[in-house]
């Protein structure tokens, strides 16, 4: 008997329903990602973008807020432009001695604080990295405390330590015949004090970021370096630092932005004094805008941070991007 193979005639398949364009759009990964991020985007739009544009609008008004503060005395510009630029407040700020002092102080504060935070964070991260795993968690937790306490609260404790009349530091120093030091009463000491507190609050952030970066450096690199006879400094310079470059750059950028815009530490510790020598953009903007009821000028001062930080962000991010492409 011959084997027979029965074959069924192929039934014509019903044409598959073609997914609609909308369905295809909704199934796209990018669409899903966008929809999932939408609540956050809306939150940012309401709490960041709207206030930012509102601040720009406010900064264009005169002190009375009844009309626009057009530029004045700008004969170096064409008339058509000069009388139609709503930057009268910015122009006014440029003529203020205190404004330039605040610019200088903000730069001094941010740059000094970030450098020392990075340095301290780097050193402490190395110490913690070398602690055996068993005890490392406790140290990590303890070292993070200054960063997790709300700065307004911890600065209050510092305020007591620096208190003009009852400073605990001065009390201790008096046993060594030193002082009393006017921690917040003298311009230079006051600047030192606010920078010190900022370093104390911010260094743990650097420490934890650097620690994470250190843990990701392959041990083989250090082993190879040791075989080659590299000393401690060469290992840091040729292995650790290059491997951490991106983390260092991003942390420095992030910290610069946050430090530049700092408000609470200066506000609680010195309120910008003595004689305005510790004001930053944010504290001076508050002083002018809220305490002085000149909201347009206060808004102009606060907006002045944006271009400075944008330039810093562009340079640092471009650098990171370039290195990413090289890799």
């Amino acid at each position: 008997m011959a084997d027979a193979v029965l074959t069924h005639p192929a039934r014509p398949r019903a044409p598959a329903a073609k997914p609609s364009a909308l369905m295809r759009f909704l199934k796209r990964k990018s669409t899903v990602a966008f929809l999932m991020a939408l609540p956050l985007i809306l939150l940012i739009a309401v709490l960041v973008i709207y206030p930012a544009f509102y601040a720009i609008y406010l900064s264009s008004l005169r002190k009375s807020m009844a009309s626009v503060a057009w530029m004045r005395n700008c004969s170096w510009l064409p008339d058509a432009i000069c009388t139609r630029i709503p930057f009268g407040n910015i122009q006014f700020l440029f003529t203020r001695e205190t404004f330039w002092m605040v610019v200088w102080q903000s730069c001094l504060f941010a740059i000094t604080a970030v450098i020392f935070k990075a340095l301290l964070g780097f050193i402490v991260a190395h110490f913690v990295h070398n602690i055996p795993d068993k005890g490392q968690r406790k140290w990590r937790g303890m070292l993070l405390i200054p960063w997790v306490i709300p700065p307004a609260m911890s600065t209050l404790a510092w305020l007591w330590l620096f208190d003009p009349s009852y400073s605990a530091f001065n009390y201790t120093l008096s046993f060594f015949g030193i002082g009393p030091i006017p921690w917040t009463g003298n311009a230079n000491w006051a600047r030192f004090s606010v920078i010190l507190v900022n370093i104390w609050v911010g260094a743990p952030f650097f420490m934890i970021m650097y620690l994470a970066a250190l843990k990701s450096v392959p041990d083989q690199l250090y082993e190879a370096a040791a075989i080659d006879g590299a000393n401690w400094w060469q290992r840091i310079w040729y292995i650790t630092l290059p491997m951490m470059r991106n983390i260092i750059a991003i942390t420095a950028l992030f910290s610069t932005i946050v430090t530049f815009a700092n408000f609470d530490i200066v506000r609680v510790l010195t309120a910008g004094g003595p004689i305005d020598k510790t004001h930053l953009f944010a504290t001076w903007a508050f002083k002018i805008g809220i305490e002085g009821s000149d909201i347009p000028l206060g808004a102009s001062v606060s907006l002045f941070m944006v271009p400075i930080l944008m330039v810093a962000a562009i340079f640092i991010l471009r650098d990171i991007n370039q290195r990413g492409n090289e890799a």
């Binding site: 009349s165 917040t184 004094g273 004689i275 002018i288 009821s293």
Partner: protein, 445 residues
């Protein structure tokens, strides 16, 4: 369907009803029900808020109005932020307590209260010049001067230390229950006493910072010399002999204050006197009240009195609060009614009592309450605190400049900065040039 036409009789009736409704300042009767929100200053003194609530709730029960009260602290400038936010949003409390400069800063958004201020002044007596300066724009009253939170920041002296080191009997100059006999209490005596107490190691605790206590004190001294940075017409008057004289004097006296006075805030002077380290501060009775609790031996030596006499008079800082009504308030007539109730003699006396004498009513007839006469220890320490004999002119720093300019001078602490700059060695003319440049900036509209 019959079409209604608006005849003359109907028009007149409707107009009369509308006019009466709008003009009626007080809410009366069962139809007065509605809602009213009040944002009052959150008092330092425990129990003072309860007195405010009681007074307002009595009115609410009588007028059948549903009342909500929020107590807004000045700590961290929460009240200033609230004022700014409500002004921007054009929404908020019907009645809002505003300190010193803020009624003027928001003048175009406030309901005029002339219709209640007139009768209140007839009933309770006149208000002082500082209240008029801060509460009135032209003929328009911007708010009702509030008892709650209003304060005088006069000298608080240690009787024993002033006698021992400066040879001054402050109690004899300002006797309880009688008019002051303080002709000898002048700028010269103040400077000598400051120097003597400094040498004795108990310096006057006068701040030179940028917060209100420091600025208020500096302002009173400037006015005593007839010195102002901007006059009432808005003209710059920085480079004048009066300002030079005041600045020279204050920089000289400032060297007798604690070395860290430029860093002092509004709590520093309180701590200074309560801890027994100084012979005098400039403050309302809050430091005395704290001393009564924490350092009774210090409290029984504290005496509240007037400022020293200057070439142009005797001035003391007065910081009134105002109860204001937003122009966008939903219930203006009820708001005015409650303010009248809160400005009655009975209410003011309760507020003063609940605040242990801290609050100062602005009306002339309310300055002799028993709370100030009976306060102790020592007996009568608060008698002269409310300035019952009009011995000194109640003033505010940076006046008589137009309030919107004066507010900038005040908020920026320009007066104390001038003192500190000159005191720390800057040449007088350089300090004046700096101040002129700063104030020029405040003149912009």
């Amino acid at each position: 369907m019959r079409r209604q036409t608006l005849d003359r009789r109907r028009f007149l009736a409707a107009t009369a009803i509308t006019t009466t409704a709008l003009a009626a300042p007080f809410v009366r009767g069962a139809h007065a029900a509605g809602k009213l929100t009040l944002g009052l200053w959150d008092h330092w003194v425990p129990g003072a808020n309860a007195a405010a609530s009681a007074v307002v709730n009595e009115w609410a029960a009588k007028e059948r109005v549903e009342v909500t009260i929020d107590y807004i602290p000045s700590q961290g400038n929460k009240n200033l932020l609230t004022i700014a936010a409500q002004a921007q949003a054009r929404s908020g409390h019907d009645v809002l307590a505003m300190p010193t400069w803020w009624p003027h800063a928001h003048a175009n958004q406030l309901e005029p209260v002339n219709d209640i201020m007139g009768p209140l002044m007839q009933q309770n007596g006149k208000v002082n010049g500082t209240v008029e300066y801060l509460g009135k724009l032209g003929d328009k009253w911007l708010g009702v001067p509030a008892t709650i939170g209003s304060q005088i920041k006069g000298p608080v002296s240690r009787l024993d230390l002033m006698k021992q080191h400066a040879g001054l009997d402050m109690q004899a100059m300002y006797p309880a229950g009688a008019a002051p006999k303080a002709d000898a209490w002048n700028m010269d005596a103040y400077a000598k006493a400051a120097e003597a107490c400094h040498k004795a190691g108990v310096p006057f605790g006068v701040g030179l910072g940028e917060t209100t206590d420091s600025v208020d004190t500096a302002g009173a001294f400037f006015l005593a010399f007839g010195a102002s940075l901007v006059d009432a017409k808005g003209e710059l008057t920085v480079k004048t002999d009066a300002v030079r004289e005041a600045l020279t004097y204050l920089a000289r006296v400032g060297k007798f204050y604690p070395a860290d006075a430029p860093a002092w805030d509004d709590a520093s002077n309180n701590r200074w006197i309560v801890s027994g380290r100084g012979a005098m501060i400039m403050n309302p009775p809050s430091s005395w009240a704290v001393a009564k609790r924490d350092a009774p031996q210090v409290a029984q030596q504290l005496w509240h009195h007037g400022f020293p006499q200057g070439p142009k008079g005797r001035f003391s800082p007065f910081l009134p609060y105002f109860w204001t009504i937003w122009s966008f308030s939903q219930n203006k007539s009820a708001a005015k009614s409650v303010l009248v109730h809160m400005s009655s003699r009975a209410a003011a006396e309760r507020f003063v009592e609940a605040s242990a004498g801290y609050d100062i009513p602005s009306f002339d007839n309310f300055l002799t309450f028993k709370t100030w006469q009976d306060a102790d220890p020592p007996k009568g320490t608060l008698y002269h605190y409310p300035n019952p004999h009009n011995h000194q002119t109640l003033s505010i720093a940076a006046s008589p400049a137009p309030p919107k300019i004066a507010q900038q001078i005040y908020a920026q602490g320009t007066l104390t900065k001038m003192i500190v700059r000159h005191m720390q060695g800057e040449a007088l003319e350089r300090t004046l040039a700096w101040a002129e440049s700063e104030v020029e900036g405040f003149l912009r509209g």
